[in-house]
């Protein structure tokens, strides 16, 4: 789950990290009201789940309340990389002497937490990482030990920040690690972490991704789930508890298991077609789940053919076949369906499907043949 900047900052603030006073606003009037309460000058910042906001005109300095009115008017409704801005964050403007970068994430290869800190923060951090990797000081933290202040000090010294920023940086990094671990975050990033002319270290941006698997111990995370960007198709699937990702093609894909679903999308592509989606219905394939999946796919006007790819493991072929037959009775399907059913009791399952076969419901023996057939029907 990705947090908006302001949610990330509020999350950081609960761990005692210094953030600027600010308010979220959904309308121009709310933005103006917020600026009046906070006191100008302020920053008007688009809240979207994507980077590149500044370059897209989504982050503006406002010296006066009139400026706030103008910028908020321009930014609300702006399309930033396909994300429409629906809310802005109004924040007290900061004086900046230096811009740093700080983050924690999991290093899957080292199987430890990786902290990165650089004196060269700001918008070009990715270029810094590529062209001058030595400018980023790294620390690998064993989750069993955690981050000690001593280790944080050595790390900060290795990053060559302004010496006057050392104590403030250590304080923030220790808190950032706590937020990252206790908050079950996949990523906690501050870019820029600023050093002010009056020698304070301060959080100026926040990028936080939380681990959805940890919701059982964070009751408040449901609020973030509601603000995740999803297209209509994805929202419908999410409500049904289906793993769905919308794609651009014309072949609707339903498969059991994430790997097989990914593989199905690949195979459709290999035979010259393009998948309209990735949809994993999980291990079982009963009528309810299948009907839900077909409903989601059915609502996508781009879908011209549907490829159902099921491999029966513990779930037997006849259960899968019965589920498909029942689901087809319940949902009025627009596009023709091609089924490939394999694995446990596949013959029994195919026998059940046999009397139902028609132009609207076809069956192929192998994944490749079924993909070819579906692509043919879609074109």
């Amino acid at each position: 789950m990705d947090l908006f900047e302001y949610q990330g900052k509020q999350f950081f603030a609960t761990y005692g990290m210094p953030i600027s006073p600010g308010e979220v606003a959904f309308t121009v009037d709310e933005a103006v009201g917020a600026a009046e309460r906070i006191g100008t000058p302020v920053m008007v910042k688009a809240q979207v789940h994507t980077g590149g906001r500044g370059k897209a005109g989504g982050v503006k300095f406002a010296a006066t309340v009139d400026d706030v009115r103008e910028h908020a008017g321009n930014i609300l409704g702006l399309d930033i990389r396909g994300h429409i801005v629906k809310r802005v964050w109004i924040e007290k403007a900061s004086d900046i002497a230096e811009e740093y970068y700080a983050s924690f994430t999991l290093d899957r290869s080292a199987k430890k937490h990786l902290g990165m800190l650089s004196a060269e923060g700001g918008v070009e951090i990715e270029a810094v990482a590529e062209q001058n990797p030595d400018a980023i000081a790294k620390i690998w933290v064993d989750p069993v030990d955690g981050l000690t202040e001593e280790a944080a000090r050595a790390w900060v010294e290795a990053a060559n920040l302004n010496p006057d920023a050392t104590e403030g940086a250590i304080d923030i990094l220790v808190k950032l690690y706590r937020a990252y671990v206790e908050g079950d975050a996949d990523l906690c990033e501050i870019n820029p972490l600023i050093f002010t002319p009056d020698k304070r270290v301060h959080v100026l941006d926040a990028k936080v991704t939380l681990d959805g698997n940890s919701e059982f111990r964070h009751n408040d995370y449901a609020q973030f789930d509601e603000t995740q960007p999803r297209d209509e198709r994805e929202s419908a699937a999410h409500e049904k508890g289906l793993q769905y990702v919308g794609l651009e093609g014309s072949v609707g894909v339903i498969a059991n298991g994430a790997g097989l679903a990914m593989s199905t999308v690949d195979v459709v592509n290999q035979v010259g077609g393009a998948a309209a989606n990735f949809l994993d219905i999980g291990g079982g394939a009963n009528a309810d789940v299948m009907a839900g999946a077909l409903e989601v796919i059915n609502n996508d006007p781009d879908v011209k053919a549907i490829f159902i790819n099921i491999f029966g493991g513990i779930t037997r072929g006849e259960e899968v076949a019965n589920g498909i037959v029942e689901a087809m009775d319940r949902v009025q399907i627009e596009a023709p369906i091609v089924i490939r059913l394999d694995g446990t009791n596949a013959d029994e399952g195919r026998a059940i499907l046999q009397p139902h076969l028609s132009n609207a419901l076809q069956m192929e023996d192998t994944m490749l043949d079924a993909a070819r057939r579906a692509v043919e029907l879609a074109s």
Partner: protein, 294 residues
């Protein structure tokens, strides 16, 4: 021979009294796995279809000589269950449960490595391990696998693991052991752990490896194969057409910034001499060619 488990492996099921644990525990026993015990502190002294329930893994080990555990505990309890198994004295832990927080996984991976270096954890979020004809721990349907050899399978994806077993069975090719390592961010057992064990196993003559997009585990495996493996390997990587930055399902499959793409993984494996198929069927065909030439 098989890796990690064999016909002598005695398994205690943590969560045997729950619906999932009971269902798969019984299937595993039917397959021939030595299912010797279950645990549940509230139901110690009772039994599940004749299998005794103990208060803890330590009790089960003391009473039955269990050497492995299989975990069907819901995600919030997995961290505790894994530590209980390690402290209880088993050497091999299979955690089937999905939805375990990544921070828990990172924690118990390092904790085990430090305090219980002889314990091998498989999973979480994996289908388990099967040595056809000998032992099946987890949720793999036993009859889709042909016993014997000469192929070992290691896979990051559940259904594609079954697909691989099935492709080989259709071609009448046997499997020494099939290990589903799971697609989570910090798997207890890695591709390399399995490749090393297969390389050392005299009955395994070739290895089939199923990967997917995200992370760098396949690239690391390729590096290992290049320098440390004499046995031929065939491979398939799922997610060639996955759009960057999108998470496909609950597996740890996420591509970001050109790293961890299927193409990068296939290139690395190809460089290491691995025969890479473009789909599971092709990978099975390639393995059949390898087996025919052994």
């Amino acid at each position: 021979m098989s890796i990690f488990v064999d016909e002598n492996t005695k398994v205690v099921y943590q969560g045997l009294t729950g619906s999932q644990g009971r269902y798969y525990g019984m299937l595993n026993r039917e397959y021939g796995t030595q299912v010797v015990a279950g645990t549940n502190p509230k139901k110690a002294g009772s039994d599940v279809d004749g299998i005794p329930i103990y208060a803890s893994v330590a009790d089960a080990v003391a009473e039955t000589g269990a050497t492995a555990s299989c975990i069907f505990i819901p995600a919030p309890g997995v961290r505790g269950a894994i530590m209980e198994a390690a402290e209880g004295g088993v050497e091999f832990i299979v955690a089937i449960t999905e939805g375990v927080p990544a921070h828990d996984e990172a924690w118990f991976f390092n904790k085990l490595r430090r305090d219980f270096p002889n314990v091998q954890l498989l999973g979480p979020n994996c289908p388990g391990i099967i040595s056809p004809g000998k032992c099946n721990i987890g949720i793999t349907a036993g009859h889709i696998a042909k016993s014997g050899g000469p192929v070992g399978i290691v896979s990051r994806s559940g259904t594609l693991t079954y697909q691989a077993l099935y492709e080989l069975k259709q071609k009448d090719i046997g499997v020494t052991t099939c290990v589903g390592i799971g697609g989570d961010p910090v798997p207890g057992t890695s591709f390399i752990d399995c490749l090393r064990a297969f390389e050392a196993d005299p009955e395994t003559k070739a290895v089939m490896m199923i990967g997917e997009i995200g992370g760098s585990a396949e690239e690391e495996a390729a590096e290992f194969i290049k320098h440390h493996m004499s046995k031929p390997v065939s491979s398939y990587i799922a997610g060639v057409t996955a759009p960057p930055g999108k998470k496909m399902g609950h597996a740890g499959a996420i591509v970001s910034g050109g790293k961890g793409t299927a193409q990068a993984k296939m290139d690395a494996l190809g460089d290491a001499g691995v025969k890479v198929g473009l789909n599971p069927t092709e990978a099975g065909d390639l393995m059949a060619e390898i087996v025919a030439s052994l």
